[in-house]
């Protein structure tokens, strides 16, 4: 139920058995079926969510009501509307399940208590935030500076599992492209090989 969560945690910082048991007390196990929401825009993001099994996506709706995907989360990844979670204010994101999921949720109250009780938890969260910020910077730089072909190649290189697992129209949405444009981009890459 918490295997992936603790494996990822221990990859960054080794926990004692006692620390694991203490942290476990504050975790909420949750199953979510495909297409069910974890969070809808306007609600407060109550949880940090770690994917134990399955895949999630985060998106906003544009003026036409179309999804614009802003992120994916596969096994071991963390997803949430960070600003809403920290400030406990309405979320701007929607988050739902791409597949049937098993999740580990950490509520704001549990998160605050874990920070107080377990110094290694605070360190782990800081590492996650730092990694996420670096990924955000990298992605922004890629979007600004690279051609579409290069952007797609970078995505393949950085997150091959996402590209393999997620339907292409969602990859297109993530890149801010129509499925047709992404198809042409992929075609150009293939023809140059």
């Amino acid at each position: 139920m918490y295997e992936v969560f603790f494996r990822k945690f221990n990859e960054k910082i080794a926990l004692t058995r006692e620390e694991e048991e203490l942290i476990k007390q504050y975790l909420t196990p949750k199953k979510l079926r495909r297409k069910q929401y974890l969070l809808q825009e306007g609600d407060v993001c109550k949880y940090i969510c770690i994917v134990e099994k399955g895949a999630m996506k985060a998106y906003v709706l544009n003026e036409s009501g179309d999804e614009r995907i802003v992120g994916f989360a596969l096994e071991g990844w963390t997803i949430g509307d960070l600003s809403s979670f920290i400030k406990q204010e309405p979320a701007t994101l929607n988050i739902d399940a791409l597949e049937d999921c098993e999740l580990v949720l950490i509520s704001k109250a549990a998160h605050d208590e874990l920070i107080r009780l377990v110094p290694k938890y605070e360190t782990y969260i800081r590492i996650l935030m730092t990694d996420a910020y670096m990924a955000l910077q990298k992605r922004t730089a890629i979007m600004i500076s690279m051609s579409l072909e290069e952007q797609y190649k970078a995505l393949l290189e950085m997150y091959p599992a996402v590209v393999q697992r997620v339907p292409q129209h969602m990859i297109a949405s993530f890149m801010g492209l129509t499925p047709e444009t992404l198809s042409r981009v992929r075609g150009r890459i293939t023809s140059r090989k």
């Binding site: 139920m1 476990k24 007390q25 504050y26 975790l27 909420t28 196990p29 949750k30 199953k31 979510l32 079926r33 069910q36 929401y37 974890l38 969070l39 809808q40 825009e41 306007g42 609600d43 985060a58 906003v60 709706l61 544009n62 614009r68 802003v70 992120g71 994916f72 989360a73 071991g76 990844w77 963390t78 997803i79 949430g80 509307d81 960070l82 600003s83 309405p90 701007t92 994101l93 949720l105 509520s107 109250a109 549990a110 996650l128 935030m129 990694d131 996420a132 910020y133 670096m134 990924a135 955000l136 910077q137 992605r139 922004t140 997150y159 996402v162 993530f174």
Partner: protein
């Protein structure tokens, strides 16, 4: 529009220009013991709200019959029968144990791991076989016993002073029936208060979980009065105040 987006091991998103709220994500409620008189009353009442209900009963066919009945009244009701109480509790955000006090220990063992940090509603009254006393010692209650069995869940006492028939008649003699809540977690009590309102009752926050002792005694008294004065199991508590 988004000003920047990101991906990675933690999806970090920075957006501006908040758009208007569309709708809330449904909360999933597992009702364990859903086909009993109280369990089915709760299921029918909560199916009207924006909740997703997972019904568990020992006999799956009875739970499926209840699902059919609820959907025949409200085609848009999001309700489903499940075969396993642990799976229902795993999917749930809120767990309602609508089982007799004597069955709670065994069920708590089954759902303990998946009920971690979740709101668990205790509706049981620990009545003796002749309905004239409680089997719990005076310094505890069924709700507090359940909290000990589920130490990392948020147990809230609710619906224990309402009869099954009250769910279809939340106004008796012109007065909206009160439903008393007791719990130690403020957010959990607020969540259950929302369910009480959805069911049509007036929520009254009575205090911490230890107040369950009083609430369970109030249920005992109401049952005794019902038998003595033949209220036909349609009666409830109401605090009158200015």
């Amino acid at each position: 529009m988004p000003v920047s987006i990101g991906d990675g091991p933690f999806v970090l998103v920075v957006l501006c220009n908040q758009t208007s709220k569309i709708m809330s994500a449904k909360q999933t409620i597992a009702i364990i013991g859903a086909t009993g008189s109280i369990g089915s009353g709760i299921a029918r009442s909560l199916a009207g709200g924006s909740n997703r209900l997972l019904l568990f009963a020992k006999q799956l066919d009875k739970a499926e019959t209840l699902v059919g009945e609820i959907k025949s009244r409200n085609a848009s009701a999001d309700v489903e029968a499940l075969e396993c109480p642990a799976n229902a509790a795993w999917e749930a955000d809120i767990i309602i144990l609508a089982v007799p006090y004597g069955a709670e220990r065994e069920l708590a063992e089954k759902i303990k791991a998946v009920a971690n940090q979740k709101v668990v509603i205790s509706i049981a009254n620990p009545l003796n076989a002749t309905y004239n006393g409680l089997v719990t010692p005076p310094d505890t209650s069924a709700a507090e016993t359940l909290q000990q069995l589920l130490p990392h869940s948020k147990v809230v006492k609710a619906f224990n002073t309402t009869f099954a028939a009250d769910f279809a008649n939340t106004v008796i003699a012109g007065k909206q029936v009160d439903t008393f809540l007791a719990g130690d977690d403020e957010n959990a009590v607020a969540t259950v208060s929302g369910l009480v309102k959805t069911a049509g009752f007036n929520p009254v926050m009575a205090g911490g979980l230890a107040v369950s002792r009083t609430l369970e005694s109030m249920a005992l008294l109401l049952i005794s009065l019902n038998i003595k004065y033949n209220y036909n199991w349609l009666a409830g508590w109401k605090v009158l105040h200015q």
